[in-house]
Amino acid sequence: AQRVTQPEKLLSVFKGAPVELKCNYSYSGSPELFWYVQYSRQRLQLLLRHISRESIKGFTADLNKGETSFHLKKPFAQEEDSAMYYCALKKLTGGGNKLTFGTGTQLKVEL
C-alpha cells in the first residue's frame, strides 16, 4: 500500500529563515513524488516533481530512496510562501495515475 507522511501540521518560520517541510513515504515499488501547494483561497497546484529535478520559486526537493523521504526545502523563506503544502506519491510504472497525498503542512512565514 502507498502511504505519505507529513509529520508537521504547522510550520512557522521567520522571513529569510530556511524552510524544510518533511515528507516520508511508504511504497514497495518505484514511486514518483510531487509537492502540491495551495495558497489561500486558491486551487491545488503542482509545485514540483522529483523527476524534473527543478527548482520552482526557490524550492527544491530531493528524493532519498534510502530514507524514503522527499523533503521540500528553501534557503530563505518569503512572505508569499505562506500556504498549505502537500506531498503526494504516484506509481512510476505499472499504470495507474492515482495520487496518494499526505495530510499537508501549513507553512506560515512571519515578518
Binding site: 486551487r43 491545488l44 497546484q45 495515475n97 495520487l99 497525498f101 499537508g104
Partner: protein, 115 residues
C-alpha cells in the same frame, strides 16, 4: 491559461438526497479524476476515468458513487443517497497523459454539506 472548473462551489443537501457535482476538465485532456477532502483530513483519491470508463477506483468509491462524461466537456460525480459522512470538499482533476510525470490539474473544488 486553461483551467478546470467545478460547479457549484458549495452544495447543501439533506441526507438521503442525490447530488451531482459537475466539472469541466481542460479541453484537450483525456484523463479525469475525483478526489475528496474531509475537513481536517488528507486529500483522498476516489476514481479515475479514461476512454469513457473507470480505470481505477478506491474503496471509498462504492455503489453510491458514479461518474459520467455525458458530453464532450462535462465530467460528473453522482452520489445516489448522501450520508452525513459524505460532507467534504470534492476536487476534480484532469491530465493530458498517463504514466510518469503527468501533471494533474485541479479544479477549485465543491464543498458538499450533508445535513
Amino acid at each position: 491559461e486553461p483551467e478546470v472548473t467545478q460547479t457549484p462551489s458549495h452544495q447543501v443537501t439533506q441526507m438521503g438526497q442525490e447530488v451531482i457535482l459537475r466539472c469541466v476538465p481542460i479541453s484537450n485532456h483525456l484523463y479525469f479524476y475525483w478526489y475528496r477532502q474531509i475537513l481536517g483530513q488528507k486529500v483522498e483519491f476516489l476514481v479515475s476515468f479514461y476512454n469513457n470508463e473507470i480505470s481505477e477506483k478506491s474503496e471509498i468509491f462504492d455503489d453510491q458513487f458514479s461518474v459520467e462524461r455525458p458530453d464532450g466537456s462535462n465530467f460528473t460525480l453522482k452520489i445516489r443517497s448522501t450520508k452525513l459522512e459524505d460532507s467534504a470538499m470534492y476536487f476534480c482533476a484532469s491530465s493530458d497523459i498517463a504514466g510518469a510525470s503527468n501533471e494533474q490539474f485541479f479544479g477549485p473544488g465543491t464543498r458538499l454539506t450533508v445535513l
